[in-house]
Symmetry: D2
Subunit: 332 residues, 4 copies
Amino acid sequence: MIGAGYWGPNLVRNLSEAPGGEAVAVADLSPERLAAIRKRFPAVRTTQDHRELFADPEVDAVCIVTPISTHRALAEEALAAGKHVFVEKPLAGTVADAEAIVRAAERAQRTLMVGHTFVYNPAVTSVHGLIERGELGRVQYIDSQRVNLGLHQFDFNVLWDLGPHDVSISLYWLGEEPEWVQCIGACFVQPEIEDVVFLTMGFPSGAIAQAHLSWLAPSKLRRMAVIGSKKMAVYDDTEAAEKVKIYDHGVESLSVEELRRSYRAGDIHSPRVPVTEALQLEVRHFIECVRDGAVPRSGGEAGLRVVRVLEAGMRSLRQQGARVTYREAAPV
Amino acid sequence: MIGAGYWGPNLVRNLSEAPGGEAVAVADLSPERLAAIRKRFPAVRTTQDHRELFADPEVDAVCIVTPISTHRALAEEALAAGKHVFVEKPLAGTVADAEAIVRAAERAQRTLMVGHTFVYNPAVTSVHGLIERGELGRVQYIDSQRVNLGLHQFDFNVLWDLGPHDVSISLYWLGEEPEWVQCIGACFVQPEIEDVVFLTMGFPSGAIAQAHLSWLAPSKLRRMAVIGSKKMAVYDDTEAAEKVKIYDHGVESLSVEELRRSYRAGDIHSPRVPVTEALQLEVRHFIECVRDGAVPRSGGEAGLRVVRVLEAGMRSLRQQGARVTYREAAPV
Amino acid sequence: MIGAGYWGPNLVRNLSEAPGGEAVAVADLSPERLAAIRKRFPAVRTTQDHRELFADPEVDAVCIVTPISTHRALAEEALAAGKHVFVEKPLAGTVADAEAIVRAAERAQRTLMVGHTFVYNPAVTSVHGLIERGELGRVQYIDSQRVNLGLHQFDFNVLWDLGPHDVSISLYWLGEEPEWVQCIGACFVQPEIEDVVFLTMGFPSGAIAQAHLSWLAPSKLRRMAVIGSKKMAVYDDTEAAEKVKIYDHGVESLSVEELRRSYRAGDIHSPRVPVTEALQLEVRHFIECVRDGAVPRSGGEAGLRVVRVLEAGMRSLRQQGARVTYREAAPV
Amino acid sequence: MIGAGYWGPNLVRNLSEAPGGEAVAVADLSPERLAAIRKRFPAVRTTQDHRELFADPEVDAVCIVTPISTHRALAEEALAAGKHVFVEKPLAGTVADAEAIVRAAERAQRTLMVGHTFVYNPAVTSVHGLIERGELGRVQYIDSQRVNLGLHQFDFNVLWDLGPHDVSISLYWLGEEPEWVQCIGACFVQPEIEDVVFLTMGFPSGAIAQAHLSWLAPSKLRRMAVIGSKKMAVYDDTEAAEKVKIYDHGVESLSVEELRRSYRAGDIHSPRVPVTEALQLEVRHFIECVRDGAVPRSGGEAGLRVVRVLEAGMRSLRQQGARVTYREAAPV
């Protein structure tokens, strides 16, 4: 693992606990962070020179958990050294960088996976199953709310901070790439760093997806609703017991009067969702893909698609929320 | 009262119960509806000719509860006959018609009020008080969700059906008119009738307001959040006990780690809100304004502003959600 | 109807709206209350002499909505006059009085019904259906919470005020009479008037039912859980959208670790419950029983059983919560 | 630490992370469990002979996390060896054993602490502060619900399994010992092992406390309400964001009609509660008490009081829920 910040220790712990996984070594520039790693994981080697990991034959795969701007260089170097690579999300800060990493992995014939942990979340995969089996009918739109009191970042906005979650989940659920992207935002705390955005994507199937992303709300919302022609599924990550709820339309049998007075039209079902940690499932998936050569659910191409949406979103933001074409997305 | 459909009987009942109010006569084209009114309100006269109301010296004010396209002609006629006028929301289907009604009321020097009931709702006025007293700090944005399984209309879309609520409340809370409007939507059930829209307004103060309006979700949402620089207020009309909740930021005292793990940053306060019916408060306000000559909270100008936003929203819809100027709003 | 207090107007309104029903006359000692009835229901005759109702051949049935201590005399008089009788709950203040009313109805061969409105509530009948169809398995116990900030009564305690609801619902659901009753209570606001009690009933099937009744809590709870050997049903009357929820056990498939960490063991299902007013359903049922001679769901015997439980509960209260036999219940 | 079962690793981890704490050695009869400990905590010594811990001069304190029946012998041995002792809850299975342990600690002049983790829970201490500062007024009663789908035990009932939590919290909050105890229960899954009980305690101040404990409900409840003469506090451990809520009475200003229609009488306040793990706070408290010689919040006497209540509860259970005197509690 390169980078031992906030998220790193979680990754080391999950790698150690996963069958077939072993945390071998951690590289970071900060001696304090490395000391903290050694205290908590006495069996893990530490170094300030990440190149030692590339040279180490015991190391099969490298996890890059560093600032976004360093992803491309580190990933290319690791792939050139013949390592499989796991990159924290988002894959890169530009489409150009993300494409370069994907191409490098193809050339090196190594596994590339992006840390879109939510697509391994049991609640998210449960909703994916509902959509795939046609239980919701045709998906009409996804409405997503991801707000909290933010750890305001100085080098990127809330779209890049929270957006990767909603975009990766939405693309996974819909199984298609958007045709267009719109993004309206505002900057309240720092100039030119949006702290609230409304991101909309339009898809070839006719579906749309909207995400409200904000660093300004002192109470967390983590809610995604998938509105289908037959049923609606709601995934609310702040719910302790009912993370997924499915709402029947059931409207045929209702009188207009009944519909006006009711809070809901049909039955509600909440399937039990396993409590397994998503990060553990993600790490196991990575190990299996490395072993079998399979393409990860959140592989390089999937990660690239997310970066394309974010970059298109930035272009739209700079044009007052005008509709921009997804495919033409180019550096802002 | 002219028009005895779904909403009419509620108005008659509330007029009868209001101090100083008396329901004198009801006009409707349908003999069945009039019979239903007579059964429930034996003291009320009924007629198929609304002109009888205009000629009746006992009638001080006329309530127009008819399809939107008839509002202008009926209101102008009533005002010309010297009656005070209450018009169901929205005031009219075009800015031109709405302006004509407002001008007619000015000429006739009669009270004109629009049935934006929500601005009389005790929870809505409670949030207005919080904003006015500065308790939330500077308002940054309003996020609103108004969705349900719709009674799909054939002549207007969800923006005109549900939008008047969120627009009238937002303008009341912010006390300013928007500078620009954007509206992104989609049509799933009927062609060219949007059944889901995302409406965004930008204000001179820098605040923005977004409303997610939909007829497609089989479970009601009626939630408006006002995010301020100091606190956030949430008004959720589907909550039985806690319709208004105020969330402190309280972020100064929290470590980054604490903030990541918490579902909220500070204290939460839920003031008790009276359970008085909003329609009763609205009717009393109308009677008082008629008596005192005061401008109603939801007077003609307020109703006109709502129509301006809706018409601008229609223009933006037709331009794929591009930003349109509020003031230039002209017939689509 | 005799008695035009708080609850009376609701009954008159529902009687007027029920097919086959007509509110003919209302008797009350207070001229003010009668005036209020006339204002709201101009077609209803009023009188200060309730005997006029007994003599009126147009009156088929009499509704007694007066203080409990007057129920017996009024019911006996009405039955003797050949009227069908509806008595507000509880049927009487003692088993002796309740038995006398039941015997009088038998002799007069008239319908006797007690106003246990909740057994007509769509959510309550929905849970009854689940039990009857065996969906919950064997019912093990019922746990009930009915608390609010009380309108403290001076002549009876919280057991007699709120208890009739939980007792009538529990007996209806279980379809059996208890073998024993225990009741623990305390008096905080007035001496010798319990304002919180915990009432427990034991049944021949082995099931038990407990109700926590209180006037001391400033937030309403209206929650009844039926724990069965296969599933649990929860009826929460304060829930706007999900009044009934059914929880699967689903425990076979869960590891111990999973069970410890989960908030629930299996799927949750919330059937849609019609929003029809229970009082309207009750009034229709009364009219049908009068017409067909059928025994009402909340007939005299059912009402008598509730009084037996309450009286046994009083005996237990006076004996510090000792177990008392239901059948021996005698005046305290 | 002696005993490396389900709970043990949590304790080792928290001891390692606590300032001034160090996990030195773990004893368990099972080589598999010891291997699991070594894998997760490579720096901790393991042994199958717990006496090695007593002999080890590096060991200051021993944590006994073994079946209840072994607590007394192990604790006496450890204290005789001069070690401070932490015993998992409940302190012992009988009052006699609990008293013996308390006396042994007194003789040895060593710290004795019982693992009543909940009295260190930030939400529980927050409610304690409210009571202590008089904010709730005079405490009238505590109503507690602790139910889930149980890991049915074969040697003790739900009273001994879940009861220690509610009893220890209630005694901590009220700051007094009960005068009497009543306990009504039933056995559904195994004969003579109660899987649902209703435990009631009466206190010298007049307050009462009831706990509904059950292994039969497939959905977790962890809710304790403290009803005071001025306000009510509710601690709900299943709530992600609002673990503590305070409800004002505020009844003075309400009309009877208003009170009937409202779901609550006054304002609601939810103070922010830190998210610190209770076990970490407990472990730190133990280390401080060992160092300073202070009596722990959940010291030997506190643990003994809990056992007294549980034993009295067993006596009441055997007498059909009759009231038994707390102080006379003797072996069943």
